[in-house]
Symmetry: C2
Subunit: 117 residues, 2 copies
C-alpha cells in the first residue's frame, strides 16, 4: 500500500490499523474507520504522545484534562500528550475516515494542537 487513499476494503467490520513505518521511538499508522468509535465508557490512556492527522472523512474526538470535544475534517491535526485520556466519539457512518497517527516517546509533551508555529 503506497497510497493512503487506496487499498480500502469493501467490508469493514472493525477499525483497520496498519503500521506504515517506524523505529525505536516512533510508529506511524494508517487507521481506517467507517462509523466506528470507541466503546461506551472506553478511554485511551497511552504511554506515548500521539500526533493525529485526519486525511479524509469526519470525526469527533473527546479529550479530558481539560475536557474538550474536537470535530475534525480533512487536514485537521492535533497532538495528544501521553496519558491525556481521549476517545473517538464518532466517525462519519457513510464515509471512510482515514487517520494518520504518529506515536512517539519523548521529552516533549505538547498540548493538543498548540505545538505548531
Amino acid at each position: 500500500m503506497n497510497n493512503v487513499f487506496k487499498d480500502i476494503p469493501a467490508e469493514l467490520p472493525e477499525e483497520l490499523i496498519q503500521v506504515l513505518a517506524g523505529g525505536a521511538g516512533c510508529r506511524i499508522e494508517r487507521i481506517l474507520s467507517r462509523g466506528h468509535g470507541s466503546p461506551e465508557g472506553f478511554w485511551y490512556d497511552q504511554d506515548e504522545h500521539e500526533f493525529v492527522l485526519l486525511l479524509s472523512g469526519e470525526a469527533e474526538l473527546e479529550l479530558q484534562a481539560p475536557a474538550e470535544r474536537r470535530r475534525l475534517g480533512p487536514g485537521d491535526w492535533l497532538t495528544i500528550a501521553a496519558h491525556r485520556r481521549h476517545r473517538v466519539n464518532w466517525t462519519h457512518p457513510q464515509r471512510d475516515t482515514l487517520w494518520l497517527a504518529v506515536f512517539f516517546a519523548g521529552d516533549s509533551g505538547p498540548a493538543s494542537g498548540q505545538s505548531g508555529p
Copy 2:
C-alpha cells in the same frame, strides 16, 4: 496552524518548513513547496529515516542505491532509509505541494515504500 491545508502564504520565495510535533526520537514537519526543488547536484544524506506523505500537489523525487525516480501525487508515501541519498527533482510550479515528513531514528531501516502491510 491546526489544519495542514491552511495558513498558506501568498508569497513563497523559499520552501517553508514547519515543525508540528516531536520528541526525542521523532520529528513531524509540514513542508510547503511551490515549484521548489533541490539545488542542482544537491543530495540529502540524512542520519534519520524519513517517512514522507504527499498531502497535495505533485512532485518527483529521485533516489540512489537503487537509482529510482518516484512521481508522487496526493496520498502517495514512502519511507526513505537513513543515508539513502535523495533529492526533490521537481514540484508543480503552479500548485501548492504539501508534504508531511516524519523523521525518526530507530532500529529499522525499511526500504522505500516497502514497509507497509
